[in-house]
Symmetry: C2
Subunit: 450 residues, 2 copies
């Protein structure tokens, strides 16, 4: 099984200052041509899939400098991800198409239907990244006064995933004979209503779409809490994980794989992709130069706003070149990212300026920087030491960063026998080495139970 490589398909890079770089696209906001070009670069590199994170709100309006300059996770000029991937399905042939959709503020019917549709349109390349919504403010766009409480979000997510999979299994794979001679378009014995009635949802079904080519589009998940990890072990095919060190990543990897047995799953049936920003140059010195150039494009006011956002603490009061303050006791970010940033800054005795510069290239998690050989070394190490099954790669600036990754790092990985030279199969599941799930409504067992 080769290493899996996914591309962050946001047509703006992960570095806060990237869009100002001379090599960056000139008008990146909601620009379909850029998205097409980025997709083609990923497919030329034979990367596994395009991945789109998502949220349903405009953030940072309370942080004027960052808001005006935009931050990588919060750009308001983005496409709705399924709409975008459906368009990209028509200009690509092999690359997988994975979009984020929340279970907290959407309906299982709509999600099942949209991803089934994308899977049919793309010939089996769709994936759904199930999230419970990280930005509390999104709630205000869906007639809620506050974010649904965490426990309730996950409870709803479990039920939601169960329904979506049940709807995908509404029809047997051969339910549509479309036989002109007999006049039988569909076979009424090969459809099942779902009749789900649970705590959060009642969904009758069946879905108004044939079973997706992949059976189920590939399911991604990303939560790193206990419940989040259980959700992945129960329902996900892939996990998007973010850890800043190989040691922590190995612990998470083992933890996730160990949880599978409880659900009767083999360790191979869940792939773990580690989020990483890659800054690669022809030489290590060039990589460092690219990195410095980008950092210099971020004025201190924007850097401080970004640091405030990531740590969950207002940082503008502290002297830029003074020591990073001890914030223990203060509220820090929702997923422990803030805590990790603070710990690292204190440990390495950074100044406030150094601290914000250290987080500019990547929203969170890991940064691999250097020559192609150095980057490939790090990737190989993480992969061989079971810190991950592959990577979710973000380029600091697009398209050049992704082009450089494909031109410099991918061939080096191939030379080492770590990455494919041709797509293995027709569907995203084929390429990821994931089995096509049996239909729960029409498997031999289901039939026996009738």
């Amino acid at each position: 099984m080769p290493m899996i490589i996914a591309a962050n398909a946001n047509a703006q890079g992960s570095h806060v200052g990237e869009w100002r770089h001379p090599d960056a696209w000139d008008r990146p906001a909601s620009n379909i041509e850029n998205a097409v070009r980025l997709a083609r670069i990923a497919e030329e590199g034979k990367l596994d899939l395009l991945f789109l994170a998502d949220g349903n709100g405009v953030r940072n309006m309370d942080k004027p400098d960052l808001f005006a300059a935009t931050s990588p996770s919060d750009r308001p000029g983005v496409f709705e991800p399924v709409t975008l991937l459906s368009a990209l399905a028509m200009v690509t042939k092999h690359v997988g198409l994975v979009a984020t959709t929340t279970t907290t503020y959407d309906e299982p019917w709509h999600v099942a239907r949209r991803f089934a549709s994308l899977d049919h349109i793309s010939g089996g390349r769709a994936g759904w990244n199930l999230v419970t919504t990280s930005n509390p403010g999104d709630a205000l766009n869906f007639s809620h006064d506050a974010h649904v409480e965490r426990g309730d979000r996950y409870e709803r997510a479990f039920e939601f995933a169960e329904i979506v999979k049940g709807l995908w299994d509404s029809w047997a794979d051969d339910a549509f004979p479309q036989d002109k001679a007999s006049g039988r378009f569909l076979d009424p014995a090969k459809v099942r209503a779902l009749n789900h009635a649970g705590k959060n949802f009642k969904v009758a079904g069946p879905l108004n779409a044939p079973r997706p080519p992949q059976g189920h589009p590939v399911v991604f998940s990303a939560g790193q809490s206990e419940t989040g990890k259980d959700l992945s072990a129960r329902h996900a095919d892939c996990v998007f994980a973010i850890e800043g060190t190989i040691e922590r990543a190995r612990v998470l990897y083992k933890d996730l794989k160990d949880r599978l047995e409880k659900y009767g799953r083999s360790p191979d049936s869940l792939k773990i992709l580690s989020g990483v920003t890659i800054i690669v140059g022809e030489t290590a010195a060039e990589a460092q130069r690219i990195s410095d150039e980008l950092d210099d494009l971020v004025p201190p006011a924007v850097g401080l706003d970004y640091l405030s956002k990531m740590t969950g603490t207002k940082m503008s009061g502290y002297p830029l070149d003074g020591p990073f303050p001890d914030l223990s006791g203060e509220h820090v970010g929702p997923t422990g990212i803030g805590k990790a940033i603070v710990a690292k800054a204190l440990e390495q005795k950074m100044t406030v300026r150094e601290a914000y510069r250290s987080i500019l290239p990547q929203m969170a998690g890991n940064l691999f920087k250097g020559s192609a050989k150095e980057v490939a070394d790090q990737m190989e190490q993480w992969y061989r030491q079971e810190a991950c099954d592959g990577f979710m790669v973000a380029a600091p600036v697009v398209p050049v960063g992704m082009e450089r990754f494909v031109r410099l790092v991918v061939p080096e990985l191939r030379r080492r026998g770590l990455f494919r030279t041709e797509y293995e199969g027709r569907t995203l599941r084929d390429n990821l080495g994931l089995a096509r799930p049996a239909n729960r409504s029409f498997s031999p067992t289901a039939k026996a139970a009738e």
Copy 2:
């Protein structure tokens, strides 16, 4: 202003028996290649737009013969329409892309965002057909025990449309300078939160998408009740209307146009498209032969099920070649279509067989059949006599029916100066002769009010 011609873009024809015809596509269920081909045919004909009706449920499971054979409005092998149109945006350049989405079982945020996204992806060709959901059973897929009551559906629809438009107006057209030199990606003075708090919804906004290229994607509506017509007069740019006779169509046309004044709108600002199935041949005899061939492909059991469905009355008990029974007093279909079918069958003293054959080609409404000249005559008459501003054309069998329409009828309309030879503009609004709406949040008036 030339006649508007929209194409029903469902990649299965409107005739119940169509998919069995030798010229029909072999595997039409969820077939993206067919959808692409149909879109290209429409664009070659320089038709205004592709239109996709929609519903969120599988129907007719209680009518086994019709279910196995499928009916044109109820095919379960269809794509989610926005996903499909986003894909079609990439293989077309000019044709408009109009998808149906319900206000009863979706969220204004999602709808605003998806159509904004489609408008950006397509360069200003998106349209939203606002419906309140005609199939009561759809409710069961959205945690409801029964369809939301009619009055409540419309009340929700009015509020929903208001919110969607407000979200589209979240940003001024020039809110994203993306100025590399100053580091100003967006202009914080050019965004407004919506802060809508109404009876059915609370939506804070702003939308996380720049203002759509068209300002607002074109809004379609279809209801023909008093409230439905008011909704169109208040919120729609186009109405999809179905009337079986020119007299009734003229009354509806005048009624709709007359309602506009109350909302300060000019008669030109609302376009009325009349639904019509067109069966055209090189000669009238050929058209009749096509029509008979198609009717013969529908076995009586399927025809009776279809008649039952359309009239809302179980018809299988009546002798096929006996007189059509007087059903007055029985419950008939939801939008008066059933009543019209019954009235016509009695008036023309049809047998039951004749009655079902009379409705097979078109779900409802009108049928223009004959040579190119005869069909063009009818279209010209409806258009000139203010029965409509144009047509929503369904082909009985695809792709041949749509090809024949484009090859035979469209040139005849051009010869008469009734239809375009080139697309007039860049956006769907341009082609339909509809103005780009002012931004309510940033118009001169809005500014003065600050």
